[in-house]
Symmetry: C2
Subunit: 366 residues, 2 copies
């Protein structure tokens, strides 16, 4: 919303500590390197940390990890960061252990920015600790890229709510993999002659799924995002005691394949369910509809659920294509026609954009 | 992007001066009344101002206009506001005269928030004065609701740009009226048997157009929004010397009807062009395509234009319905699949949401 970033020229330097220098982390470093107000003072991988309050050049940061030494993030790094405020702790991991330290960072006045869904979709207890620590110290905990990567999802929801709108329902396709699978399998109009198991197998070969496709078909990634969104909605903050585990999830892992399997065993077993999916597809198609794996947060009855649903061919969810995510915000103010945000919801560069956008927001506020 | 607005409890009071207490202004007052950090200290209509630095209750503000007295906004009000900082000057008018005062307000350190397109879509000279005054004083000039009302359009574009993405093209349906007319006239699949002039006439009767439909069909509203967007895009800042008047606009006002006409004369004259529109529609339909009145900002060749275009039935612009706006951001980072924002782009309540969202952003930054 800024027309001219008038304050930028006089903006104070904001220190950054980056945990997790992988795909997203590398893109975050690249994007931050173009922004003069940020100074990298620490970089950590899963084993060690290189801390240098004089500043670490963004472009040599990953090489500088060779100088890293083992350091407790909780006992050593965070207390050190608190001596160099304003400072942002960027967690680019998907680690439970790192997420559990957000309350510690926030209590020390260190801001947290992360695409890691764990901290906000785990137990209500951790979520409340994060909230309380943030409220007590005034440090921010930002997480735009936990849902829809760089798409303006959380910021849009928060603007709706802060300006007094009532959100009645959020629905959407929240997983790039689920999007790709069903956009390809079930199209408005004529469908291609493809078996569901073959589609999943091909998608895996092309890198559209996790190494084990069961991770995607379980729906747990969608459930995590729903947990994060629902906790922002008034009346639903405390709905999910166990976070992702309290979401009503329809898993697409067939019975009998829900134990330990290799990816090959899983894909082979999935063939026995092709007739089931073909039947679902035909029923939908006969009704001029399509299948989509959707997540729903419904404030009317407190529902937070995900599963395979049928939508008419004219519905915005039906015209989705590729592996795009789509989010429909149904609100009192927008009435019968939802506010829609759509686009790539995964990928290192767009995820990093969400992270860096959050860092800029903090820099504008401190 | 804020998870917990930790700072809110300690946030300083932000004073607000509201110009234009009409439809949008009333909704702005209503929405601001729920937010404890804002204090209304001035309200003006086109004739007079009621200024009370002790605070004016939001709910009685319009009634308090009975106490208003003539006051020069430039010579009296703005200097007074500058004594009560932080202060936001909210312009809910569509007035050239008020827009021309933004540099004065900003120079006095008074922030500007507005849905008024004029200031940012007029001459490059005024635009540069606004930019320079903002940069010099550090006061913000925010305008999310000038394009797409409450939809996150400008904020999304700015996040893309600030995080280093390259915008290659912005295209979309930027007018609710144009959206309604062509979504109704030209649908994917079978079209209804309706004449274009009858559709425009019916739309006017239902309040979907301005009192004189030529205002909508001229394309100038779309051109204004394009001017605002294009000036945010690197390389195009100085492209439009005369703002809206430098945009390449295809007007849908037929030759011969572009002079002074009454609405009735205009609609009657439009009937002579029904065959033309029917022909365009049939050509599109025969190619499994639809007609849409789109605006385009193309960075490759510096094009800023709007006009009637043909899109395949599978394109996101084709599945638009109602009077929704849609914005497609084509960027280097998002590649072949644009980031899309869609929804109601007009209406007092959603426009006010954009205004109040901007006010909250300023309150979080001061």
């Amino acid at each position: 919303m800024v027309l001219f970033n008038a304050a930028q020229s006089t903006q104070k330097t904001v220190n950054v500590a980056l945990i997790g220098p992988g795909g997203v982390g590398s893109c975050v470093l690249e994007q931050l390197s173009k922004l003069s107000q940020f100074k990298l003072i620490s970089i950590s991988n899963s084993k060690a940390t290189y801390f240098n309050p004089s500043g670490i050049p963004f472009h040599s940061a990953k090489a500088d990890l060779s100088k890293a030494t083992p350091k407790s993030i909780e006992k050593e790094l965070i207390p050190q960061l608190s001596q160099h405020q304003p400072c942002i702790f960027i967690d680019n991991t998907s680690s439970d252990a790192v997420a559990s330290l957000y309350p510690v960072a926030l209590s020390h006045g260190v801001h947290v920015v992360t695409p890691n869904k764990v901290g906000f979709s785990a137990s209500l207890s951790l979520f409340n600790h994060i909230r309380d620590a943030s409220a007590a110290s005034g440090a921010y905990a930002y997480k735009e890229s936990t849902v829809g990567a760089g798409l303006p999802v959380i910021s849009t929801l928060e603007t709706l709510l802060k300006t007094g709108d009532k959100v009645t329902k959020i629905e959407g396709v929240l997983s790039g993999t689920m999007s790709y699978l069903f956009n390809t399998f079930s199209k408005p109009g004529t469908n291609d002659d493809i078996l569901f198991s073959k589609l999943v197998s091909d998608a895996r070969d092309q890198g559209y799924t996790e190494p084990h496709p069961a991770s995607d078909l379980s729906g747990s990634d969608v459930a995590r995002k729903l947990a994060i969104l629902s906790r922002l909605v008034p009346g639903l903050e405390n709905r999910l005691e166990e976070g992702v585990h309290s979401v009503d999830v329809e898993s697409l892992i067939p019975p009998g394949l829900d134990g330990d399997t290799t990816p090959e065993e899983f894909l082979s077993g999935l063939k026995h369910h092709d007739a089931h999916y073909e039947s679902l597809r035909k029923t939908a198609s006969d009704a001029n509809s399509v299948l989509r794996y959707v997540g729903v947060v419904d404030t009317a009855d407190g529902t937070v659920k995900c599963g395979l649903e049928t939508y008419p061919a004219s519905h915005p969810l039906a015209s989705l294509s590729g592996s795009d995510n789509i989010f429909l915000f149904h609100t009192q103010r927008y009435g019968t026609r939802p506010l829609i945000v759509q686009g790539a919801g995964a990928g290192s560069d767009v995820t990093a954009m969400g992270v860096v956008g959050d860092c800029i927001s903090i820099a504008e506020r401190v």
